[in-house]
Symmetry: C2
Subunit: 68 residues, 2 copies
Amino acid sequence: MEKTYKVEGMTCGGCVQSVEKAINAVAPAATVKVDLENNHVTVTGIEDDNLVAQAVENAGFDYEGPVF
Amino acid sequence: MEKTYKVEGMTCGGCVQSVEKAINAVAPAATVKVDLENNHVTVTGIEDDNLVAQAVENAGFDYEGPVF
């Protein structure tokens, strides 16, 4: 299932890579796509929002929650 | 004790904040300073290099080791 989250604080390609790697560190099989312009992170393969939230926050970015 | 590490992959202020927060997540009392131009991260208050390495890698950046 694909799910999109609002994440603040990403401003460049380094930030994008940081968020991607942080999420893949807790869920190696997950697919992560970042839309820098809209501050959206789209994740496939993680059911638990808290896992995404924790990975994002630990990487130093602000997890705002799912986007509907 | 202050110690400086080489960290690759940081390109903007968002990256800097990411590395700082990631290190402070594992060591809340540590002081972290980032020199973006030289790819240096200076940490005060952590004795174990591996702790720094792990925090940096989990945040999606490349820990290269201590700078002497």
